[in-house]
Amino acid sequence: MIELSHIVKRFGDKLAVDDVSFTVGEGEIVGFLGPNGAGKTTTLGILTGYLSATEGDAKIDGVDILEHPSEAKRKIGFLPEYAPLYLDMTVKEYLSFVYDLKGVKLPRAAHLEEISAVARITDVYHRVIKNLSKGYRQRVGIAAALVGNPKILIFDEPTVGLDPAQIVEIRGLIRTLGRDHTIILSTHILSEVQAVCDRIVVIDHGRILADKTTAEFTQITEAPTRLNLRIEGEQDAILRFLRSFNGVKSAEALSRAEEGVYTYYVETAEGRDVRRDLFFALAEKDFAVLGMEALGVSVEDIFLRLVQGTDKKPAKKEVR
């Protein structure tokens, strides 16, 4: 459905996208994950015909975006990072404008009402966009992407700036749309792609670091490698014990929580969940565990792991 091959994009001397290739099959929801400035928006810009690639091809449903831009663009519904709304128009006028802009042939009133219902903006249909909340504006942006029933939907950071309730709602909406659309969802939030996508493509510094199914990805991220512990007992003895414990990479005392109780920060070896073993072992030594918190895996950690993973490969080759 979507095919990017060897895309390179330079802005002057700056290499924004460096040899990016991936494909998205029909009906897939693919998460495009990367920190800010990783090259996500640039790649999506190339995919949607907003930018031109310095090298490489982008094909939408078999149609090259540079050779046949109009045909390719008709197949895409795009919500950029900042929803491109004319604030002085009502929702109805705006959607009607997008309908004309895309040259849609479906019955106008019925089609616009249908997508308004899907995007849940029926109650603000006659209101001026300027007066809508950020959440509603985002949904109007999504509705605009849906005009003309394109097969492919591309959302660039759709939940940025929304409150938690709105985020949940937008994610739910994207999941619902995923039932009959091919979707690319770009974000820098790990939990967002895990919640919504079937597959995750990770990009950083313009290069693809990983392309895995969400299940594979979750395996990497699930075993907590950083723990915050609150343990009662003598600090030095506990530190010695933690550091000698099998599976613990490092341990340090952070602060005194209460009388005789300290907070410790523990990092464990890759892919090992030592929480149970550690709990019982500490109990056996009469160190009471008053609190244990597995720290979430940050996107930065994953990048670090993926980068380390890619660095290791050539090293192994050299040894051989």
Binding site: Y50, P69, S70, P80, P84, L85, D100
Partner: protein, 235 residues
Amino acid sequence: MGAIYRRELCAYFISPIGYVFVGVFLMLSGAFFALSTLFSATTSLSAYFTYVLLSFVVLIPLLTMRQFSEERKTKTEQLLLTSPVSLWGMVAAKFFAAFTLFGVTLLLSCINFLFIRPEHGTVNVPVMFAELFGVLLCGAAFCALGLFLSSLTENQLIAAITSIGAIVAMLGLGFVTPDISNTVLRSTLKWFSIFDRFYTFSYGLFDFTSLFYYTSIAFVFLFLTVRVLEKRRWG
């Protein structure tokens, strides 16, 4: 293309810009007509049209200053650039929207001619139409120029000021060229002078070279606008 054209025309009247343009244009043209024709007890409209042409310095930038700069600032240009409309279609739609409002207002201002006093003489109708046509062509060239300058910045004010400067320069050339002694320089600058071409219309001539001149100026600026948008896409 039609969608952008309609949106642009509507946008003039959603904001006060459209009303300000029409109001000021009609007010100024009324004043010019009274001063140059009625009070001078003449039926010649040459002076009137010259004043109208000079008023474009402030009037045309009103129409064109926000056309691309505002889209860029509010990021709505992403919607246009990712839609199945060509760059030429987009630029032409915006140009014709500005030109339509300008043209309709110019025609409205012709109401002034109903007040020509018969006792001042008879009106030379072919000359009047030729001059009106010349003003219309000039306006088209300035609309294209303003549109081009609006595509270079995301700040409306800068677009407006540079447009004013550029229109002043193009009109001003007509006053400066006769004093230049270097023949090559004089004839080159004369070529760019909007006024010099306009005079042929004031003789009542439908001069095809002038028609070609104004339409090619408009075309060149529209072409440059397309190139600016294209270049931005290539980074």
